[in-house]
């Protein structure tokens, strides 16, 4: 086998583009593996772990792109490297020609070109993200910071500045928002309506807003704050600011507040703020807790129920069985469940539902129970719910909602284990997500032994670009049992387990 590598200086492409190029190279004949990636320290670690860290790329700087291929012979290796160089060089030229005008090099210039923008959506690598977000705030722009790996210190400084200027500082690690009807990053097409959402969780926000849409409701604003906003270091600055906005927003009649449970100080500030409104507020902090007794506040830990209660409060008569699918319980070849999630909050909800039914948490890489904590998501045990979006999987690779390769690998790994009876998957549609998840999953599902039960939760709305019905149809055809509410999907999986174990 031949390994060849090349350093490409002075070029920059986003990680998704590089991933697509890597994928294209891997599809060439004679190529066993290929990676085209920025030569950052983090990425070198990844290359090392996959035995792709070759001495040739040693001199590369952090800002260089490196291409590494493993090929059957020298000629295939040479051709693949040549192809990598061509692909890395061509995209920018193509887009420039297409547009006939040059892209702005800085936020400042882009702001001028738009004659004053409203919001800056930032998804560059974490170590550069804070500085860019700061520039955007200085220009008076709202910021949605998708990037993660931003320090708490930077987050606090950015949010403090934003609050002073009356601006949104959503994130870091904010994956979802719907502002003035526009879905941003990972978000679903949701009708405009009366429910305002503030959420410290991306997929939680997606599940709730999509369910609202599916029940016939609509959303006025859906703010994401980033997962750490409720921590005492950040003090809930954005949770508070967004909540305050929704309380005063005449378009918003019902408020949804959700996320991981905030720190006690933050919580008491939020309760105090909520005491000033008579609007119905549906709260979901992802685990059971006591809330102040105030007639307009309702609490639930089910994402589906959060949406239902919000719709009810706006006067939409929802049938509690509207989203229910009556599937007969299938027979299992073995008694264990493996949940392979791309959505962190869905995984968290799964853990809670499981706990409510079995009295303890399942094994997980993200659970809170030390006795059921997995060292890493690769080594699953018994019933395991794995968040494939957590850091150990995503450093240096695109999110599993975009890139299904990791999930396909995990599906094959779990299916090969004779103890596994059910595989549970969340399939997130909407903007930002994979354009056609069924095309990735169907061939993998068809390869699985017939007796493995595959349960899919499809998180989507009618308006999403992927065509929800087509996706569901293809997954069903490949043998999957499909739900459109996660709560129901995980409950169904747990019922299957109970019945198989005779409990």
């Amino acid at each position: 086998m031949k390994v060849k590598a090349s350093i490409l200086k002075g070029k920059y492409l986003d990680s998704v583009k590089l991933m697509l190029i890597s994928k294209e190279l891997r599809s060439l004949s004679g190529i066993e593996d290929a990676v085209v990636i920025m030569a950052t320290q983090e990425n070198r670690e990844i290359l090392k772990s996959t035995n792709m860290l070759v001495p040739e790329i040693e001199p590369a700087q952090e800002t260089d792109i490196v291409a590494i291929v493993k090929a059957d012979d020298q000629q295939s290796a040479d051709e693949a490297i040549q192809k990598a160089e061509n692909l890395v060089s061509s995209p920018t030229l193509k887009t420039e020609q297409e547009k006939g005008n040059r892209k702005a090099l800085t936020i400042d210039k882009a702001n001028l070109k738009l004659n004053g923008a409203d919001l800056c959506l930032i998804s560059v690598a974490g170590k550069y993200a804070a500085e860019e977000a700061d520039k955007a705030l200085d220009l008076g722009l709202h910021v949605m910071l998708f990037s993660d790996n931003v320090s708490l210190e930077d987050e606090l400084a950015l949010k403090t500045k934003a609050v002073k200027k009356g601006l949104l500082m959503m994130g870091p690690d904010c994956g979802t928002a719907i502002i003035n009807g526009t879905p941003l990053a990972f978000a679903n097409r949701v009708p405009h309506g009366k429910i305002g959402i503030v959420s410290a969780s991306g997929t939680g926000l997606q599940e709730i807003s999509a369910t609202i849409a599916n029940l016939g409701g609509g959303v006025s604003q859906a703010f994401g704050t980033g997962g750490r906003d409720g921590m005492k270091e950040i003090g809930g600055l954005m949770l508070y600011g967004c909540l305050e906005y929704l309380i005063n927003d005449p378009e918003t009649e019902v408020i949804v507040l959700m996320g991981k449970t905030p720190a006690p100080d933050v919580l008491s500030k939020l309760w105090k703020l909520l005491s000033q409104t008579a609007k119905p507020v549906i709260i979901n902090f992802l685990k059971p807790m006591e809330i102040p007794s105030q007639s307009n506040l309702q609490y639930t830990i089910s994402l589906a129920e959060t949406a239902q209660l919000a719709c009810l409060a706006t006067g939409i008569q929802t049938d509690p069985h509207q989203l229910t699918h009556n599937h007969p319980l299938p027979k299992l070849r073995a008694k264990y469940l493996r949940g392979l999630y791309s959505g962190g909050t869905l995984c968290a909800e799964g853990i809670q539902v499981y706990k409510a039914m079995f009295g303890h948490e399942p094994y997980s890489n993200v659970g809170s129970d030390e006795n059921h904590k997995l060292e890493d998501g690769w080594n699953t045990l018994e019933d395991s719910l794995i968040d494939l979006g957590s850091d150990e999987f995503t450093v240096g690779r695109p999110h599993p909602m975009i890139d299904y390769s990791l999930r396909l690998q995990k599906i094959a790994q779990e299916a090969a284990n004779r103890d596994v009876g059910i595989i549970l998957l969340d399939v997130v549609l909407g903007y930002g997500a994979h354009p056609d998840p069924a095309s990735e999953l169907v061939p993998a599902l068809e390869k699985l032994a017939k007796e493995i039960v595959v349960i899919c939760h499809v998180l989507a709305t009618e308006g999403d670009p992927q065509d929800r019905e087509k996706q569901i149809g293809k997954l069903q055809q490949a043998g999957a049992i499909v739900f459109t509410s996660h709560n129901e999907a995980i409950e169904f999986a747990c019922k299957c387990l109970k019945s198989a174990r005779g409990i």
């Binding site: 200086k9 002075g10 920059y12 986003d14 990680s15 998704v16 583009k17 952090e62 800002t63 030229l93 020609q97 040059r102 892209k103 702005a104 090099l105 800085t106 936020i107 210039k109 882009a110 702001n111 738009l114 004053g116 923008a117 409203d118 919001l119 800056c120 959506l121 930032i122 998804s123 560059v124 690598a125 550069y128 500085e131 860019e132 955007a136 722009l141 709202h142 998708f146 990037s147 009356g166 601006l167 949104l168 502002i179 003035n180 009807g181 526009t182 879905p183 941003l184 990053a185 604003q221 600011g241 967004c242 305050e244 906005y245 005063n248 378009e251 975009i402 903007y431 930002g432 670009p465």
Partner: protein, 469 residues
């Protein structure tokens, strides 16, 4: 209190392009930033520069640009370096780029110095010349520090004839040798007998013939020739065919009127006609002539020199006096002639990047569609190169224009601050020398200047400003 106007969003996207594509598909107004990881420059320095830009740097740059734009370079005569070039003496050899010692010089530069010492009669053989060159007896200095510019190795030795140029607006002079043509030539490091014989012919026949003709004309307006050449497909760095032709038109009557020997005059015309790059040795000193008066304007961040010696790339900045800011010269990612590859190439070399510094060359490549294929691209790419340089220039030329851009002036006045803030290096439209002496040109292409000299200059600018970092 959060202020959010309820109206359709206009979004700036920075990072994953798919997010912008999604927004566009919904009809949202989006502008994507062509983002690259920022250069390694201290944040405090960036902030200091930013805080002072409008008040201190910008006015100084405006002044510098006005000086550059009002300069008019004329060819006013010829002479011998020993007598004309300031500071020239018998033991001095001038070279391209920033200062460098013999031990760090690249192959082509060493070869050219060996050739120059043989040409000067200081050595009979290459071995003798090399010994003398390394002995310490010979002094080396950058052309730019003696009013000169030289292509490739850029060697100027005392006996070489030079063109004399004068900026009529400011009265300053610049100098350059006569261009030898392509193939085995001194500027690529060749020193064989044919090279020395040609240099002697240039001294004994070409020089006096041209000197008489130029003397007869009094002066030739190079500013006007360059402006016309841009409208005729030259960018006067890598393509000088129009400039050379225009020069012959001006010279021809005077050559005839001052003719001593028809055979020799014909040979002179043949020589110029056979060398499309003859005009390069005028476009370079012409660029220098208009840039030099813009030196030493306190606070100005405009580059007045970019030059390479085949080892280092050097930059001088108006507000930073005669200091050189250097970094390793890069091996160009160029288009290589058949039989050659990047492995044969010498790192970037020559003072010719003075044309880019003066708003020509790569900055004006949109005017030269004929050579863009030669440098491995398309005509639209050439436009895009020129357009991109407006992002790092303080202004534009008031007289050098690009027809394809509706006669917009070329980008002029490289602003070191904009290079850093936009993370965009100047493009240089250059030839590539073989790393071994005397092989000659092995390729050509549009290459980016390295960032290191610009980062150093940026930091020096920040240091010069009042207040601490």
């Amino acid at each position: 209190m959060l202020k959010l106007e309820n109206k359709p969003l206009k979004v700036i996207n920075l990072g994953l392009e798919s997010f912008a594509d999604d927004l566009k598909s919904m009809g949202v107004k989006v502008e994507s930033v062509d983002w690259k990881p920022p250069l390694p420059v201290d944040k405090a320095m960036r902030e200091k520069i930013k805080a002072n830009y409008a008040k201190k740097i910008e006015p100084a740059n405006r002044q510098a640009l006005e000086i550059i734009n009002s300069g008019r370079a004329f060819l006013v005569g010829m002479g011998v370096a020993r007598e004309e070039v300031p500071g020239m003496h018998d033991n001095l050899i001038l070279h391209a780029g920033p200062p460098i010692t013999w031990d760090r010089m690249c192959g082509p530069m060493r070869g050219a110095i060996i050739g120059a010492l043989i040409y000067e009669g200081r050595a009979k053989t290459a071995e003798e010349a090399e010994k003398l060159a390394a002995s310490g007896e010979i002094e080396y200095a950058p052309c730019h520090e003696h009013g000169c510019t030289g292509p490739m190795a850029g060697i100027v030795s005392p006996s070489m004839p030079v063109f004399i140029l004068r900026n009529e607006t400011y009265g300053n002079f610049t100098y350059a040798t006569q261009n030898e043509g392509l193939g085995k030539v001194l500027r690529y490091g060749a020193f064989s007998e044919e090279v020395i014989i040609r240099l002697k012919w240039m001294e004994e026949v070409l020089y006096p013939t041209l000197k008489r003709a130029i003397g007869h004309l009094g002066k030739i307006d190079l500013h006007s020739l360059i402006s016309q050449a841009l409208h005729m497909g030259d960018e006067v760095h890598n393509r000088n065919r129009a400039g050379t032709s225009l020069l012959i038109r001006q010279l021809a009557p005077a050559l005839v009127k001052t003719m001593l020997d028809p055979e020799q005059t014909a040979k002179v015309l043949d020589f110029i006609n056979g060398n499309d790059h003859f005009f390069l040795n005028l476009s370079m000193p012409a660029s220098k002539a208009v840039l030099d008066p813009a030196r030493n304007i306190p606070g100005s961040s405009i580059a007045v020199v970019m030059a390479r010696n085949g080892t280092d790339f050097g930059v001088q900045v108006s507000g930073l006096g005669g200091r050189w800011f250097t970094g390793p010269a890069l091996v160009p990612d160029a288009l290589y002639f058949p039989g050659y590859s990047k492995a044969d190439a010498n790192p970037d070399i020559g003072d010719s990047a003075i044309t880019e510094t003066g708003g020509l060359g790569g900055f004006a490549i949109a005017a030269a569609p004929a050579i863009v294929q030669f440098v491995g691209g398309s005509a639209s790419e050439a436009l895009s190169y020129t357009l991109s340089m407006f992002d790092i220039c303080f202004g534009e030329s008031s007289s050098y224009q690009i027809p394809a851009l509706d006669f917009r002036g070329t980008p002029l006045g490289i602003d070191v601050v904009k290079v850093i803030e936009n993370n965009l290096a100047p493009v240089i439209d250059t030839g590539v020398a073989h790393k071994n002496p005397g092989v000659g040109q092995v390729g050509a292409g549009v290459v980016n200047a390295p960032f290191e000299p610009f980062i150093k200059a940026f930091e020096a600018l920040a240091d010069e400003l009042p207040g601490s970092c």
